[in-house]
Subunit: 130 residues, 2 copies
DNA sequence: ATAATAATAGTAACCATTACTAATAGATAG
DNA sequence: CTATCTATTAGTAATGGTTACTATTATTAT
């Protein structure tokens, strides 16, 4: 059938667990250390399929390459513009606020919201010290 | 000094007023009808500079090309996945909610938020009828 | 006018991502 | 088992939006 659990996919899953919100290239480089023949195309294809299936999260980023997240539960990301670190944000309170936005947008535009892309940028407390 | 108001920039501004959230290419094609020698690079450069200067808004879009908005006031965009139409959403109420998100993210991650990228997608009421 | 320098047109390069293709590996059936 | 079928891969080429480069043109300052 249409699902063969390849060794490569397993390695990609493992890389996602070891790395913090990595790009496809970072996953590729990580796997290459133990399995030098892995193909970048294979990494891209599997990451895309997994994101499509809802098994992982794709974090689009506009200018820089997309990042991926083993934590598939919907949550927000904040990126530091100085050091590039990615922070997670998640809470009941936040979910309520987001639902409120969905409802507002739906009422004011008539569009039934199916997907949101949200990315926040700023300077982290560590980088502010320097 | 560093600001020369070129005829090309004026044409780009005008195109932004005539078109609804156009891409750089759409601006380019629009201007080409009356001024065939305009360069796509010039359109990109000016749009980038204007967005940088806060004179216009850049709407990043992940997969598809970025769009631009003559309305520089911060507001949200909802795109219909069927017809591609872009809807504007703006209100006092919404601004309050967004400020609330900023404050929450700042408290929970320590990052001082300087920029937000938000894009919503769904199906518009018109497309739902079909 | 002359010189200095923004800005442009045209084109080449970039780079993340996708598409393509022949080879591989794992499942299926006899 | 052996032959066959097919999902997946490695390797590489192509894509497409965007940026970089460079010689030329247009605008400003002297
Ligand atoms: Mn995360
Ligand atoms: Mn708008
Ligand atoms: Zn930082
Ligand atoms: Zn629609």
């Amino acid at each position: 059938m249409s699902k063969r659990y390849s060794a490569q996919k397993m390695m990609i899953e493992n890389a996602l667990k070891q790395l913090d919100h990595p790009t496809a290239s970072e996953v590729y480089e990580y796997i290459r250390e133990s399995y030098p023949n892995i193909s970048l195309g294979t990494v891209y294809r599997n990451l895309g399929l997994m994101a499509e299936a809802g098994e992982i999260l794709r974090i689009p980023s506009g200018d820089s390459p997309d990042r991926f997240d083993i934590n598939a539960h919907e949550h927000l990301h904040v990126t530091c513009t100085k050091c590039g670190k990615v922070f997670d944000a998640e809470s009941e309170k936040l979910e309520d606020v987001l639902k409120k936005i969905d409802r507002f947008l739906q009422e004011s535009t008539g569009v039934y919201i199916e997907e949101r892309t949200m990315l926040f940028q700023g300077v982290c407390s560590n980088c502010r010290k320097q």
